[in-house]
């Protein structure tokens, strides 16, 4: 890894604390992800994206800004990247996955808030995240109460835009969301000083669709009888998707997919014989958080699908590509994003149907419902998801946890017992 201390200092960061936090993330990455055996050779690129997320990628974005492009920080898969990219700006998802920044957030936030929100705010407040000072605009959304109020804190310094994600999916909600996407376009045009052009938007739609297709292809490969890569590696790829340049990412993932297809043909095995196939469903695991996947796979199972925001919720639907002009393009983008089945919606029947469908398609032996502690919507929705899975004959286990390591003993018992219960 290249040393970027000079840049970090120029950005006004607490460089010492930055290293304390990010070196610990890197050690955790080495201990979990890099310690795996039999990894595909082309995973090396994605490892580099993760390890360079707070160095190389920062330098790259700083260079883009020096050339006149803008940097947009986001926090949710509901933010339409197409519009950002079409205006020549760079989007990066900035959600925190480390427990180490949480104490800095707890100086302001209550303890009983989800770790993702606390980790994110903590990175901003501790002056350790290099993306903060580079941001020309940060984009929040209204997918949960803790996030909404955190945006109010972060927006105090200006340069913040909040997208109102509706709570239902009726005609009025569609109109509201469409207007929100239009307002987002106007705000981005103001930030970038550029006007959105239909040709550039069409190109950005094609690019994002290419990226989603590559991720969907990866998802298909994981359905193989012998998955050609671990669930932890698939998660690393998803985390990289939220950070990396979309074109470079797509090219690299397409290349990895070829390697994986070859592995499937040759029958290369990454998990122990008879490994139980598990789907993780619910909350995201963002960069820094490898806890659940590591625990499940250390117990001898293999994660073959992620029905999460760092999984199918990110890539499973495409934006319709057409040449009907800017209005039609924006309408197509708005329509695509509203297909995302986040638990903030009421009702959210399509998600429950989707979990059951994916469990069948991926031939899973069981589903682990992953709930970040204090994420009320996924936690409550878990009851209906579990009932639907039970009806379909699929065992499920709900895990509620945060980023700390103190409960790994208890979690291991639950996961081990869940797997023991399948040995029949």
């Amino acid at each position: 890894m290249t040393d970027h201390d000079e840049l970090l200092r120029e950005l006004g960061l607490d460089v010492e604390l930055h290293h304390r936090i990010f070196d610990a993330i890197d050690r955790n990455f080495a201990k979990t992800v890099l310690a795996q055996k039999g990894r595909p050779a082309r995973m090396a690129y994605f490892d580099g994206v993760i390890r360079g997320a707070h160095g190389d990628r920062v330098a790259e974005i700083a260079a883009r800004r020096a050339a006149g492009d803008k940097f947009i920080g986001t926090f949710c898969v509901y933010v339409p990247d197409e519009i950002i990219l079409a205006l020549g700006a760079v989007p990066v998802a900035l959600c925190g996955g480390t427990p180490l920044s949480i104490p800095y957030a707890e100086q302001m936030l209550p303890r009983d808030i989800c770790p993702l929100v606390k980790s994110t705010l903590g990175l901003a407040l501790s002056n350790t995240c290099p993306y903060g000072p580079l941001e020309d605009l940060a984009v929040g959304e209204t997918t949960c109460d803790a996030k909404k109020k955190t945006w109010d804190i972060l927006a105090a310094d200006g340069g913040f835009h909040v997208l109102e994600v509706p709570q239902k999916k009726g005609p009025r909600d569609r109109d509201l969301w469409h207007e929100e996407v239009l307002a987002f376009k106007a705000r981005l045009e103001e930030t970038t000083g550029r006007t959105l052009e239909p040709e550039k938007l069409a190109a950005a739609v094609r690019l994002m669709n290419r990226k989603r297709r590559a991720l969907a292809r990866l998802n298909e490969l994981r359905k193989s009888e012998n998955p050609p890569l671990s669930g932890l590696d698939a998660l690393v790829i998803m985390q990289a998707a939220l950070i990396d340049d979309p074109l470079r990412f797509s090219e690299r993932l397409e290349a990895l997919n070829e390697e994986l297809e070859d592995r499937v043909r040759r029958g290369v095995v990454v998990s122990p014989p008879g490994a139980k196939r598990i789907m993780v469903s619910g909350c995201p695991s963002v960069m820094g958080n490898w806890k659940l996947h590591h625990l499940i796979e250390a117990a001898g199972a293999v994660v073959v699908c992620d029905e999460t925001c760092t999984g199918t919720r990110y890539f499973s639907t495409l934006v319709e590509e057409g040449d009907g002009g800017l209005d039609a393009q924006i309408a197509a983008i708005a329509a695509r994003y509203l297909t995302i089945d986040c638990s903030c919606f009421s009702p959210n029947d399509e998600r429950i149907a989707s979990v059951v469908r994916l469990a069948g398609e991926c031939g899973v032996d069981g589903v682990v419902q992953y709930v970040l502690q204090y994420c009320h919507t996924y936690n409550v929705e878990a009851a209906r998801v579990a009932a639907a899975l039970k009806e379909a004959g699929v065992p499920s286990l709900k895990i509620v946890t945060d980023y700390a390591e103190e409960d790994t003993g208890q979690l291991r018992i639950r996961i081990d017992a869940f797997l023991e219960g399948m040995k029949r």
Binding site: P395, G409, Q410, I413, R414, A417, E420, G421, R424
Partner: protein
Amino acid sequence: MDTPSPDLFLGLDLGSRTTKIVEMSGGAIARYDIFDTTHDSIERVRRRLERRDYARAAAAGYGRYLMNAHLDCRVVTEITACALGARFLDPAAGLVIDVGGQDSKAIQLGNGSAAFSEFEMNDRCAAGTGRFLEVMARLLGFSLEEFGRTASEADEAVTLSSMCTVFAESEVISLLASGRDRKAIARGLHQSVADRVFPLAARFEARGNILMAGGVALDRCFVDLLAKKLGRPVVVPEHPQLVAAIGAALFAQ
């Protein structure tokens, strides 16, 4: 080193508060040992295993992987172990409620060959565990035996608003300061643990006997309150703390 007996199976349960060793021979419990989990309890288990007079051994509990790392010993979760142990002790058992030192769980036994069909565990918190009762007994100046007996004899129960061990502790101190009767507080604390354990068990359909496992099953007041809340009798085996260790021995077999 003794000669291994082809008929002797060892079951270990390395719990957070106590460690249990059960020796099973000819389908019956030959010997058992229960001692506090301390800095040297692992050593004591290891010494027992090193005698190698048994055919096979299996370990359950929080310390199960420690044993597995050192000696030829299979590993099983206490969920499976409890289910196996419960079925051995009571073939008519359908549900096991295990309240131990650090957690509580309800396990629905499986049909046919499956040890269990489903389980529920409490959150990572001492509420609804033996540890909660232990802390409260000490606060009220009772031994564990006195605590349960006194609670049974109480004519009334103080309702406690807090399930959290730390907050309940301050609540109990305020109650004592306001002159409330120790017995009624003891009863209230038992009720509070029963209230916490009840929803774990109530999620499962009633079929077969309900068997109680874990050290808290020795507390008659708790068992009575839970049975009342469930509206069904709760069976307590002779040595409820040994259920998982017995199951581990059966698993080894």
